[in-house]
C-alpha cells in the first residue's frame, strides 16, 4: 500500500528525442489512475519509468515516500500486466504465478496458499496445470492478472492490458479489473489509448499529449469540462464537434454576447446538439442531413451546414427516420457551449450575465 509521487519527471532518449517533457503527478494510495492519450504521447514510457524498465532522465519518482530512481524493477515492489501478457510460455500457469514469489524466497506453503487464493478469485483454478498456449486470450489475461495479484505488491501497473481482447471480453475484463482493484485497494496505474476504458476505470484521469499532461481530474469532470481543444476532441466517442467561430458567423448563426472575444473555436458535445428547440436560450444552426448511423439505442446524425468544413455529429435517442438531404435545425443551449481560445486552444469561460 503506497501512493506514487512523480515530480518533474523527464525522459530524453539518446539521440535527443524528448518523450516526457516534465510531468508532475500524484497517484493517491489505493486509487486507480488512468493515463490516456494517443499513441506516442509518452504514457507507456511514463509507466515503464515507474516500473524501472526505463531510466529517468530528470526528476524523481517516489513509491510510498521512497525515491526509486536508482532501484531495480524488482526492488520497487510493483507488479505489471503487459499488453501481450508476457506469460512465460514454458511454465504452467502455476509456475507463472509462483515464479515471482520463488525469486523472493517466499516459503513453499505460502506460495501454494497465495496461488490457490488468486486462482479462486480469478476463476482460473481449472487451468493451473496448463501451459499458457493452451489458454484463450481472456484466460491468459486472467493469469497475467493473477501473477500481479499473488505478489501483493505496493502498486499494479497496467500497460494496455485489454487491447488484445475482442470487444465483448474487453468490456467484461474492464469491470473485473475495477472490481479486483477495489477489493485489494492497491494503488494502480493504468495506461490505455481507449477513452471509454479510461472513463469507466479511473478514479483519476490523466490525459496526456506529446509528453505533457493536458488535463487531469475525475473522469466526468474532464469529460464535462475539457480544458483544451485536444482533450475536447480526444474524450468522448464521437468526440466533441469543434467549429470555428468565423464559420458560424458567416453562416449567420446568432452567437450569445457572453462568448469572449478571444474565442476561436466553439465545442459542442454531440449529445448537447438537439433537433428540437430547448426551453433555455440557445443557438440555432440550419443544416441538412448527410448521413445517419443507427447504433440501436440511439442514432448518430451527421449534419452538414453550409461553410462548415466538418459534419456536425448529433446524438439523438431512438431511431432517426431522416433521409440524406433532409433539412435539419440544430439547437445548442448556451450553457452547453465550450469556448476555446483562438491562439492557445485553451478553454475560456463564458462570462455569465451578472
Amino acid at each position: 500500500m503506497a501512493g506514487i509521487e512523480i515530480k518533474n519527471v523527464r525522459k530524453t532518449y539518446a539521440g535527443g528525442v524528448e518523450a516526457i517533457k516534465g510531468i508532475d503527478l500524484t497517484i493517491p494510495d489505493g486509487k486507480l489512475v488512468v493515463l490516456v492519450g494517443p499513441s506516442g504521447c509518452g504514457k507507456s514510457t511514463l509507466l515503464r519509468m515507474i516500473a524501472g524498465l526505463e531510466t529517468i532522465t530528470d526528476g524523481t519518482i517516489e513509491i510510498g515516500d521512497k525515491v526509486v530512481n536508482k532501484l531495480e524493477p524488482a526492488e520497487r515492489d510493483i507488479a505489471m500486466v503487459f499488453q501481450n501478457y508476457a506469460l512465460y510460455p514454458h511454465m504452467s500457469v502455476r509456475g507463472n504465478l509462483a515464479y515471482g514469489l520463488k525469486n523472493r524466497g517466499t516459503p513453499k506453503v505460502e506460495i501454494a496458499e497465495r496461488i490457490e487464493e488468486a486462482a479462486r478469485i480469478l476463476e482460473i483454478t481449472p487451468f493451473l496445470d496448463r501451459k499458457p498456449r493452451q489458454l484463450s486470450g481472456g484466460q491468459r489475461q486472467r493469469v497475467a492478472m493473477g501473477r500481479a495479484i499473488v505478489r501483493q505488491p505496493k502498486a499494479f501497473l497496467f500497460d494496455e492490458p485489454l487491447s488484445n481482447l475482442d470487444a465483448k471480453l474487453r468490456g467484461h475484463m474492464r469491470v473485473e479489473i475495477r472490481r479486483l482493484q477495489r477489493t485489494f485497494k492497491t494503488t494502480a496505474v493504468y495506461v490505455t489509448h481507449d477513452q471509454l476504458e479510461a472513463m469507466t476505470l479511473a478514479d483519476k484521469l490523466v490525459v496526456m499529449n506529446a509528453g505533457r499532461i493536458e488535463q487531469m481530474g475525475k473522469p466526468l469532470d474532464v469529460y464535462a469540462n475539457p480544458q483544451s481543444l485536444f482533450v475536447a476532441a480526444f474524450m468522448g466517442s464521437p468526440g466533441m464537434n469543434l467549429i470555428a467561430v468565423g464559420e458560424l458567423q458567416a453562416l449567420g448563426v446568432g452567437l450569445p454576447d457572453a462568448i469572449p472575444a478571444s474565442t476561436g473555436t466553439l465545442g459542442l458535445r454531440p449529445e448537447d446538439v438537439t433537433l428540437e428547440a430547448p426551453a433555455e436560450p440557445h443557438i440555432v444552426i440550419d443544416a441538412s442531413l448527410d448521413a445517419v448511423e443507427l447504433v440501436g439505442s440511439e442514432s448518430l446524425v451527421y449534419a452538414r451546414a453550409q461553410g462548415i468544413e466538418k459534419d456536425i455529429v448529433v446524438r439523438t435517442p431512438g431511431i432517426h427516420p431522416g433521409e440524406p438531404g433532409d433539412a435539419l435545425t440544430l439547437h445548442v443551449a448556451h450553457s452547453a457551449l465550450h469556448c476555446f481560445e483562438q491562439t492557445t486552444g485553451r478553454k475560456v469561460e463564458i462570462q455569465r450575465a451578472a
Binding site: 524488482a74 505489471m80 512465460y88 510460455p89 515464479y99 515471482g100 501451459k131
Partner: protein
C-alpha cells in the same frame, strides 16, 4: 493445409523441370551409396584380381576390430566435445551481441566469417598456430610450462581438432542462437525482472528454456557436422594420429579404403556411417517439432 498449385498445360514439363536435380541426386548420391552398400558385402584380394561375395563378413570383422571400436570411441568424444564447445561459445557470443544496440550488425558479420573458410584451410590455420616448432600457441603455452605437442600427445591432438572443428561451427550456431534470442519478446525478460529475477537467473530460467528448440536442433546438426564434415580438418592437422587417437570414422573410411586399399571394409564402414546419419535425421524430424514450447 493451404498449398499453392501451379497448373502446367504440358504434363511432361514438371517432370522435365525436376529431372536435372533428380539426375544429380541419382548419380552423385544414390548410385555411390548403392555401390558402397554392394561393395560392403565383397572382398577383394590385394591386387584386385579376384572378388568374392562374403555376405556380412566385413561387418563382423569390423565390430571385432579393436581399432574400429577405438575409432567409434574417438568419434564419440570428438563429436560431443565439438558440440559442447561450439554451442557453448556460440550461445555466449549470441547473448553478448543480443545486448548490443548499435554495433550488433558489425559483430554479427565478423562472427560469421569463419563459416566461409574451407575445412582444410581451417585445419591448416590451426595447425600453424599450434605447430610445436613454429606455432605461436605452443610458444605461449611453453611460458606457462606446458609442453604442447600434438604429434606426440593424444590429448593435445584431440584438443587441436576439437578447437579447429568448433571454431568453424561457432558461426553457424551463433546465427541460430541470435535469431532465437531476438524472437523472444522483450516483455518476457522485463516481466521476469519485475518478478525479481536477476540477469543470470533470467538467462537460465527464462531465456535458455525458450531457446531449447534451437539448442536441440543445433545439437543434432553439430553432431552430424562433427561426424561427417570434419574430414578436411583432421586431414589438415593430425591425419588421425598419434596412435589412432584422432582417427574419427570418416577419416578411417578414407584411410582404410584409399590408403590401405581394403575396399570391402571401407565400404562397410561407410554404410555404418550412413545408418548413423539416417538415425540422427529421423531423430531430428521426429522430435524437433514437439520440443517447441510456444
Amino acid at each position: 493445409m493451404q498449398t499453392k498449385r501451379t497448373t502446367f498445360t504440358n504434363r511432361g514439363l514438371p517432370y522435365a523441370l525436376v529431372l536435372p536435380q533428380l539426375a544429380i541426386t541419382a548419380i552423385f548420391f544414390l548410385w555411390p551409396a548403392g555401390q558402397a552398400f554392394y561393395q560392403s558385402f565383397l572382398r577383394q584380394d590385394a591386387f584386385g584380381f579376384r572378388t568374392t561375395f562374403v555376405w556380412l563378413d566385413n561387418y563382423e570383422r569390423l565390430f571385432a576390430d579393436p581399432s574400429y571400436l577405438n575409432s567409434l570411441w574417438v568419434t564419440a568424444i570428438f563429436a560431443i566435445s565439438t558440440t559442447v564447445v561450439s554451442i557453448g561459445l556460440a550461445l555466449a557470443l549470441a547473448a553478448a551481441v543480443d545486448r548490443m544496440i548499435r554495433s550488433a550488425r558489425a559483430y554479427t558479420t565478423l562472427l560469421v566469417w569463419p563459416y566461409a573458410v574451407a575445412p582444410v584451410v581451417a585445419g591448416i590455420l590451426w595447425w600453424f598456430m599450434f605447430n610445436p616448432t613454429i606455432g605461436i600457441l605452443p610458444y605461449i603455452l611453453d611460458q606457462f610450462g606446458y609442453d604442447w605437442n600434438h604429434s606426440l600427445s593424444r590429448l593435445d591432438a584431440m584438443v587441436l581438432i576439437v578447437l579447429a572443428a568448433s571454431w568453424k561451427q561457432i558461426s553457424y550456431n551463433f546465427l541460430f542462437f541470435l535469431a532465437g534470442l531476438q524472437s523472444i519478446p522483450h516483455s518476457l525478460t522485463e516481466a521476469a525482472a519485475i518478478d525479481g529475477a536477476g540477469p543470470v537467473k533470467r538467462f537460465f530460467t527464462i531465456i535458455l528454456p525458450l531457446l531449447s528448440p534451437t539448442t536441440f536442433f543445433l545439437m543434432v546438426v553439430n553432431v552430424v557436422y562433427a561426424m561427417f564434415d570434419t574430414f578436411g580438418i583432421v586431414h589438415g592437422t593430425t591425419e588421425g594420429g598419434p596412435a589412432q587417437s584422432t582417427n574419427i570414422l570418416v577419416y578411417k573410411v578414407y584411410n582404410d579404403g584409399f590408403i590401405g586399399l581394403n575396399l570391402g571394409s571401407s565400404a562397410a564402414q561407410s554404410v555404418v556411417l550412413m545408418s548413423i546419419v539416417v538415425t540422427l535425421t529421423v531423430i531430428q524430424f521426429r522430435y524437433i517439432e514437439r520440443r517447441v514450447e510456444y
